[in-house]
Symmetry: C2
Subunit: 412 residues, 2 copies
């Protein structure tokens, strides 16, 4: 008998009918002889409706009270799912975050889990019950209700799977798994059967929205096998685990792209050894996330410092740099907006030199100019013109042998 933690997101529990369908799905798992803990998010638009209410009442919307408000969304879902399960004759019990023993920092709207006490869940599982837990929420040491921020329900599921030493954590979603790239961009994108935590982390950080990076990090840390699969179909999904088998002849696992990229360059910054840190410490203080950084020495005594930020942060970044410019002694600030980042990810790169070079070649042969490059052991990212990005994804997908079987057939 296996213990499975199953997580269903907001779109999977969007209506009473959806909840009944999830209940049948959970009941099936139990009927196959498994124990089940189910984590659910708030129903469809509930969270947005609650935020609307808050906006009508308050211009400040203090974080503690927003957490108090928003956590009702998951509480509604767990009660309804537990009821639906009982209607199917399955003994079940629902728990809020605090009841499930999910303890967090005393930080609102984005608390991190500090500690898990799954004793109540264990007790109910031993009595043969299905335990339904509210995702996204926990309780601080002071007894305040907290939320885990974006991707919170995935994180709840993985943390519970770790604490309960579950055999598997299944993340049910509206797609069938993790794809080699965005199926909206590449028709022949294919579902990846297995992927390693590190690869998944890179893909998640690079914009593959199917799993939140925090949940993947947590899964990696506690070695929890994760299965991403469809709420609506019974096909197997994508298994995320420590060591994923590479398919024959494939080095790159997936291709990600991100259109939310702006580039900023500080031109002609005098080469003083505290200038670089001054720039990025100041940006960090302003909570501006910097992605790719390139420093190039243009003369003996001056450098250009270029980096990318999210487009939403561009305006503030320029404000901050304008204030710094004189202190740094820089010549000018240049920025560019119509950019995108395309990335190839694959653990196979470590043992296959020349993958980056192959990427540059493919892009260049297709007439694309690479403006910035960033690499890790298992990833290469290039910043290119936004107008080129969809084509770039397609040609890289083909070049690295990722096109699905149907595409190969078409090519013949």
């Amino acid at each position: 008998m296996a213990l499975t933690v199953q997580k269903f997101g907001g779109s999977s529990v969007a209506s009473p009918e959806h909840i009944q369908r999830v209940a049948r799905r959970v009941a099936d798992t139990v009927d196959q002889g498994n124990s089940c803990v189910v984590v659910v998010s708030a129903m469809g638009d509930t969270t947005d409706d609650l935020i609307d209410l808050a906006c009508k009442v308050s211009s400040k919307r203090p974080a503690r009270e927003m957490d108090m408000l928003l956590t009702t969304g998951e509480q509604i879902s767990i009660a309804l799912l537990a009821m639906a399960l009982q209607d199917l004759g399955k003994d079940s019990v629902s728990f809020t975050g605090w009841q499930a023993g999910i303890r967090t920092e005393a930080v609102h709207s984005k608390a991190r889990i500090t500690d898990m006490d799954p004793s109540r869940i264990f007790a109910e599982l031993e009595e043969g019950k299905i335990v339904v837990v509210a995702g996204f929420q926990g309780v601080s040491e002071d007894g305040d209700i907290t939320t885990l921020g974006r991707g919170g329900s995935d994180t709840t599921a993985v943390a519970l799977a770790a604490a309960l030493k579950a055999d598997l954590c299944e993340i049910y979603t509206d797609v069938e798994g993790v794809y080699s790239t965005d199926p909206r961009v590449v028709k022949f994108a294919r579902k990846i059967p297995e992927i390693s935590y590190d690869e998944m982390l890179e893909l998640a950080n690079l914009g593959a929205a199917v799993l939140h990076p925090r949940a993947v990090e947590y899964a990696k840390q506690y070695n929890v096998p994760l299965m991403v699969r469809s709420s609506f179909k019974s096909n197997p999904g994508t298994l995320v685990k420590e060591e994923a088998l590479m398919e024959k002849g494939i080095i790159v696992r997936g291709i990600a792209h991100d259109l939310n990229v702006a580039k900023v360059a500080l031109v002609g910054v005098p080469n003083r050894n505290d200038n670089l840190q001054a720039v990025f410490q100041t940006l960090a203080k302003e909570n501006i996330n910097v992605d790719i950084i390139v420093q190039s020495v243009v003369h003996n005594d001056r450098s250009d410092i270029s980096f990318t930020v999210a487009k939403d942060d561009l305006h503030r970044t320029i404000e901050v740099l304008t204030q710094l410019k004189t202190r740094l002694g820089a010549n000018e600030i240049v920025c560019e907006e119509e950019l995108a980042k395309v990335s190839i990810v694959g653990a196979g790169m470590i043992s296959n030199p020349g993958v980056a070079a192959q990427m540059f070649q493919v892009l260049s042969e297709n007439g694309m100019f690479i403006k910035m490059v960033s690499t890790s052991e298992i990833k290469v990212s290039c910043v290119i013109d936004a107008s080129d990005v969809h084509k770039a994804v397609r040609v890289l997908h083909t070049a690295f042998g990722l096109d699905a079987v149907e595409a190969a057939a078409v090519a013949k």
Copy 2:
């Protein structure tokens, strides 16, 4: 500086605008130098909407999960009110039932409060905060969320006032206070300035919906002064306390009536000393509440046993009695439906004999036939024809000097 517990019902927090108005009202109390704990119910139709959702998902609707579901209604209200108060510059914090230390029996949908631990509330009050508490809910020893059942938010407010030794518990509602009788029946009904717990209990039990009997009982038990007043107007309301001053010349405080009355008679029951108990134990087992009971010996060896029940229970009552009839040896079962109960309530009756006689005289002079009578120290109830009841309330209201000043003027 006084400590006040203020309770606002669902109609007082029905919309974001209502919540902002409640916030201003609470802020005014604080600006006058008082400390404030505020208890709120779920917004307007929230509870009904949640019940609808549950009905769509489940035919069983287990009580534990219904409590989990319905308590989100008050949690939404407290978060929004705390936000609205902070928008007015008032430091405030919201607490669910479990956070507020409201401990109950491990019974769902109608738990009784067993214990209060107001330490967190005290701590926040000491920091100068307004504490907003979810009504209607508590937590069992096992850590399950429970609800207090009908009138639950009033009970929460009174229990908090008792535990905090508050100077006053104000119940804000959509009427201006407790009236001498139903203003929809008697135009010259008047607001009662003061009333004793016992009188209020009788009126509440007799159908005055403004306060739930449980809350009044709790207030009496812990000697908490209660003020019932309007959420919309600033007029003083009705003060409920241990010893209420009687106005000069007035013995009866209020008149209640109830149209949900059916009479059942077991005719010709042999006089065996276990017959009476057999009837009422059986009804109690079936959860049928019996109100007035009259036994009259018609012959040496046979009696008639008559009693009243709520109309909804009449059908089941007759079923139960039909099964009992042979065992009891009764001749027949007779029932009557078009009945009503009219009651006069006043602590002054204890020291004023003849009040009951005066009531009978007034009804009889007005051509009404009294079918049953029941009395307590501070109440007389008569069962009469339903068609007479509004007239009965009016003539009694005038006869016992309760008509408001305008009526007296009209009479002259």
